[in-house]
């Protein structure tokens, strides 16, 4: 059984078609990254899969359950969401923020159990936030804050996690650290990840598969190393892209002609 089945999903808002006839089947224990130019529908797709946005047509099944037909609590036990711009509540410490991820596992009237507390401690250690557990979450750096959001998603204990631009606003080192954390959870815990990323090099290096969106439609899917070399990639972004091998790693670079050179060429 697939982890995520997306059947003919379309999303239209106020006459604007954001997604059209998207059909995908995502396998258990793999990392899929959605790529595409701005406005391609990446965020719409991950929010629809996470169940926080309803499709106009089609359906999304996670582990065989239609996520839009489930109650919020049941859905939150199947899929966790890391949004692009998470709301960070002022004054809440990291530990209290992370344990919000246990919400779907106990009633709203009942507090968390000792096992919930132990899980939060364990996850904080895994993401390297133990020493910051009692810091106000708003005082964390961008990278630490994103790790706290990631920890909240892990504490939710779902087998599917959806992330929208999890490295937004991070420097290169923190981006790499964050994606390595993700990779470890996929490899060691069999997590299924659907993420969006703008950086094509990082997308190609960390994900197992890429999904190329353009204009709300799927243009290409497949193994990451194949999609980054596909002519469809340059066509979707409207600029020539090349893959350069750096010590065995694929680096995607745009082919840019300098303005001064263009002027000289055109004068000649």
């Amino acid at each position: 059984m697939s982890a995520i089945d997306i059947h003919s999903v379309g999303v239209t808002i106020d006459g604007a078609v954001l997604l059209s006839d998207v059909t995908l089947s995502l396998e258990v224990g793999r990392w899929y990254t959605v790529i595409g130019p701005n406005g391609a529908g990446k965020t719409t797709l991950v929010e629809t899969v996470a169940g926080v946005r309803s499709p106009s047509t089609g359906s999304v099944l996670i582990e065989g359950h239609d996520v839009h037909a489930l109650k919020e609590r049941d859905r939150a036990r199947l899929v966790a969401l890391v949004p692009q711009h998470p709301v960070i509540p002022a004054g809440m410490d990291v530990w209290d923020y992370v344990i919000l991820g246990r919400t779907p596992h106990h009633g709203l009237l009942r507090g968390g159990s000792a096992s919930d507390d132990a899980l939060v401690d364990d996850v904080l250690a895994r993401v390297g936030l133990t020493r910051l557990a009692h810091r106000d979450v708003t005082t964390l750096s961008g990278g630490e804050r994103q790790r706290a959001v990631w920890a909240r998603a892990l504490v939710q204990s779902t087998r599917v996690v959806v992330l929208d631009e999890p490295t937004t606003g991070m420097d290169v080192r923190h981006q790499t650290e964050m994606l390595e954390l993700l990779r470890r959870e996929v490899d060691e815990c069999g997590l299924t990840v659907l993420a969006t990323l703008h950086d094509l090099t990082l997308a190609g290096q960390f994900a197992d598969d890429l999904i190329l969106l353009e204009g709300g439609r799927v243009r290409e899917t497949g193994l990451a190393r194949d999609v980054v070399r596909s002519p469809a990639l340059s066509a979707a972004y409207g600029t020539e892209l090349r893959v350069v091998d750096v010590d065995g790693a694929d680096v995607v670079v745009p082919v840019v002609t300098r303005v001064s050179e263009r002027v000289v060429t055109s004068s000649a």
């Binding site: 929010e47 919020e72 609590r73 939150a76 709301v87 809440m92 919000l100 779907p104």
Partner: protein, 327 residues
């Protein structure tokens, strides 16, 4: 809270010692015997004790409702009157005093609380029907709808007042500024079931309000039925507030500043804030009412004036404390 309530039993023109006053109250609860004579007993048990009890109940309810509103709207400036309760209750009371009661008399008719309660609940229902049905920005649209409804009802109230006799206008203002001077045990027992029920619902929603602090979309992703939680908390807060306001009039600032004071003490979790709002709110209103009835000899300051006089500077202090950079 207990110390403040005990002190409030002693404050007054008739001199009664603290131990005698507390002994008198306990004797009515079946514990021991009173040392007071009949007149002193009537002053303590029939006049002061219901007033203190009413202050405890009203203060607790307004503070819990204010904290709940701040959580459900994720807005630190929210107070229990945000959705039109004050304007609705004010209009109901104005109709009772200027149109149904005897316009020539200066008293407040006995049925005023019922019309004030009806007005408050009607205002909230109208606000909800305009701004609370589905949509993606329910919290924001509800607040805007509350502003519109409040403006509408206040303008109607103003029209009714300007076309009324000066004596009834005086009565309306007396009611609007809030007072515990007419508090009786009958009134206390009338509102206690509502206050207890609504307070328990709000406190039980503390965990949900903590989740809601990450926004509607993330709360839904965390499994919170956002619309149902928001509806439940608003209904409980509004119902409790309408119940107390209908009896004592409009008492401002309690629902705004008490949750902020508690937040400074115990942090931002509503699981800790809301239970403490009960004691902090009750204590604050008992103290404010003590000031209202004892600051001037021979006259009583309207309770709403006292809470505003205390509340405004306290709010400024809180604002300055919360602006300080953390180290």
């Amino acid at each position: 809270m207990i110390v403040a309530a005990g002190a409030a039993l002693v404050i007054g023109v008739s001199s009664v010692s603290g131990t005698a006053a507390i002994g008198d109250v306990l004797s009515h609860l079946g514990i021991g015997h009173t040392s007071l004579n009949d007149v002193q007993d009537a002053i303590v048990w029939d006049l002061r004790a219901p007033r203190v009890a009413m202050a405890l109940v009203v203060g607790a309810m307004l503070a819990v409702a204010g904290g709940s509103y701040q959580g459900v709207f994720r807005n630190p400036l929210a107070d229990p009157y945000l959705l039109g309760i004050a304007a609705g209750a004010g209009l109901g009371a104005t109709i009772a005093i200027t149109r149904i009661g005897n316009p020539a008399s200066s008293g407040i008719p006995t049925f005023t609380p019922w019309l004030a309660f009806g007005g408050a609940m009607a205002a909230v229902a109208l606000t909800w029907s305009i701004g609370g049905r589905g949509g993606r920005n329910t919290a924001a649209t509800l607040v805007l709808a509350g502003v519109a409804v409040s403006s509408l009802l206040t303008s109607v109230q103003t029209y009714l007042q300007q076309s009324s006799s000066s004596s009834s206008i005086e009565s309306v203002y007396l009611w609007l500024l809030g007072s515990l001077s007419g508090a009786s045990w009958a009134q206390v027992w009338l509102i206690i079931p509502y206050v207890v029920m609504c307070t328990l619902v709000c406190i039980a929603s503390g965990r949900a309000l903590d989740v809601l602090s990450v926004g509607d979309m993330e709360s839904r992703a965390l499994g919170l039925p956002v619309s149902r939680v928001r509806f439940l908390v608003i209904v409980a807060s509004s119902f409790g507030t309408a119940a107390v306001v209908s009896v004592v009039g409009l008492v401002g600032f309690v629902g705004l500043i008490v949750p902020h004071v508690v937040r400074l003490t115990v942090g931002t979790s509503y699981r800790r804030i809301l239970p403490l709002c009960v004691t902090f709110g009750a204590t604050f209103l008992v103290l404010a009412d003590s000031v209202a009835r004892s600051a001037l000899s021979g006259a009583e300051i309207p309770l709403g004036v006292v809470t505003a006089l205390i509340g405004a500077p306290v709010f400024v202090i809180i604002l300055n404390i919360s602006r300080r950079p953390t180290t």
